[in-house]
């Protein structure tokens, strides 16, 4: 059979078009496109190769097994290490070169534990302004196994005003018995048997004199030069020492 000439010409045009399609697809379509669907299957592998920054608490427990055991037994058992210490894959890769930070200031814990009416009822919350201001949380609470510290409820039951004022002061962490010796009988006959009170400047000086042992942040004065003719509490109210 002899094909008409116009069909032959058309055929040639079609052949060129098909060849162009084949060449264009080979050049333009990525190799793995369409292997799994209408997309480049190799993209999955390149996304899966993204490096991880959070190592996961299982990695931490491999070396820090003591802290991991402590955490697993305490109230923070559901809180992974990297919640507070940040992403630590770099520390896992080079334990000696990269040291994980630990939040020691008062700014971090309130992220979870500041009072917020939107939080679920029963979640432990405090008012960061009123709750022992200026004292780092870790002074009283062990972040790896936190428990509410024992509050001297016995004194506060009657001396609530003093307790509330002291709770806001620099002396918030001092239990009442640091300065007062309280006989058991005081609870039975409060007016009959009274607790002791400090009697001289040397008592305050145990923390506040120059060279005194104790917490470094307690202000120090020279007992001999600092208004020697007065007793401390004539100027400083011990339950709220900032008050003059």
């Amino acid at each position: 059979m002899k094909l008409p000439q116009q069909v032959v010409h058309l055929g040639a045009v079609f052949a060129v078009a098909v060849a162009a399609l084949v060449v264009a697809r080979t050049l333009l379509v990525p190799t793995t496109f369409g292997d799994l669907g209408h997309y480049r299957a190799a993209a999955i592998d390149s996304i899966a190769a993204h490096p991880k920054k959070y190592a996961g608490h299982q990695e931490c427990a491999l070396c820090h097994d003591d802290l991991a055991a402590k955490r697993a037994a305490g109230n923070h058992r559901g809180v992974a290490c990297e919640v507070c210490h940040g992403p630590q894959q770099a520390h896992v890769d080079a334990p000696l070169d990269v040291k994980p930070p630990a939040p020691r200031d008062r700014g971090f814990c309130p992220l979870c534990h500041a009072y917020n009416p939107s939080r679920p009822t029963g979640f432990p919350q405090i008012d960061p302004v009123a709750h022992n201001p200026l004292t780092p949380c870790i002074t009283c609470h062990d972040p790896h196994a936190p428990v509410p510290p024992a509050v001297p409820q016995e004194c506060g039951a009657c001396h609530g005003q003093i307790e509330r004022q002291k709770a806001l002061s620099h002396h918030a962490n001092l239990p009442c018995v640091t300065c007062h010796q309280v006989p058991q009988q005081h609870k039975v006959t409060p007016r009959g048997v009274r607790p002791t009170k400090p009697e001289d400047r040397a008592f305050c000086g145990r923390c506040h004199a120059e060279g005194a042992s104790g917490r470094a942040e307690a202000p120090r004065i020279s007992l001999a030069e600092h208004n020697p003719r007065y007793l401390c509490w004539q100027c400083h109210y011990p339950h709220d020492p900032k008050t003059q």
Binding site: M1, L3, V18, L21, V22, R25, V29, P30, F33, G34, D35, L36, G37, H38, Y39, R40, A41, A43, I44, D45, S46, I47, A48, A49, H50, P51, K52, K53, Y54, G56, H57, H76, G78, V79, A80, E82, V83, G86, P87, P110, L111, C112, A114, Y115, N116, P117, S118, R119, P120, F123
Partner: protein
């Protein structure tokens, strides 16, 4: 019929029949039986179907998930780009609903500012729902976004042309435009962690266990238990997107 014409039609049909397989081979229709990419660790994507469960009653709005996600996935550290974010709903005495999300919840939440009494209030963590019926994948003109065999919606950022159709199409506002790469970006469900057998970073750091991760179907994973033990809902079920992020104790006000 004219015999010449009949013979011509027959020859043309035969030529077509012979050429079809060649054309198909060139166009490479997707293989019907999709096979997962066998990773170097022997990870088989076809064996998994991932999802997430979120318990609203456990979320304390600390925003650690937001911070962890940004660190893990190199999300820009500004207030406009989030793979996951936390919204606060405040419903006052009159039933008026206020929703806010300062910096996506990255820095936690200050106490809500309301004149009237709060009737109820709660936090809602949000992220890409990894829909089984994803509208964002449907609208992509070049095939740069897709569902993997294990049910994760991903973006191929070397292939994305940055047209932003998918950002418009997502009914959950989960996609964003990467200002440096000039491509669409979104939550990958930490796909790079999943293939290593780890949970997503937001699930890892959630201090109250409000986020649960696991398999959607037929596997004894935490998510299966979560779905069994809670009345779960999905966001915007009427859109038939079939999300794989399940919410427990979800308030009717949540959109």
């Amino acid at each position: 019929m004219n015999p010449d014409r009949r013979r011509f039609v027959e020859d043309a049909l035969k030529a077509c029949a012979a050429g079809c397989p060649l054309l198909l081979a060139v166009i490479r229709l997707p293989a019907a039986a999709a096979q997962g990419p066998a990773g170097e660790s022997g990870y088989d994507a076809t064996e998994h179907l991932y999802g997430m469960g979120i318990d609203i009653q456990k979320c304390i709005g600390c925003g650690r998930c937001v911070a962890a996600c940004k660190a893990e996935n190199d999300v820009p550290m500004d207030g406009h780009h989030f793979n996951t974010w936390v919204e606060r709903y405040v419903i006052d005495e009159n039933g008026d609903v206020t929703v806010d999300s300062p910096n996506g919840g990255f820095d936690g939440f200050p106490p809500p500012k309301t004149e009237s009494q709060i009737r109820r209030s709660f936090f809602v963590p949000k992220l890409c729902n990894h829909c089984a019926n994803p509208p964002c994948v449907q609208v992509c003109p070049v095939g740069a976004t897709f569902s993997t065999p294990d049910g994760v919606v991903l973006v191929d950022d070397t292939y994305c042309i940055g047209c932003r159709y998918c950002i418009q199409a997502c009914p959950y506002g989960a996609r964003w435009f990467h200002p440096a790469k000039q491509v669409a970006a979104k939550c990958t469900l930490c796909y790079h962690r999943l293939v290593k057998g780890l949970v997503p970073a937001c699930v890892e750091v959630c201090p109250t266990g409000a986020r649960t991760f696991g398999e959607v179907e037929h596997r004894p994973t935490p998510l299966a238990r979560f779905i069994r033990m809670n009345d779960v809902q999905v966001l915007k079920p009427h859109l038939n997107t079939k999300p794989k992020v399940y919410y427990a104790n979800l308030d009717g006000e949540v959109r």
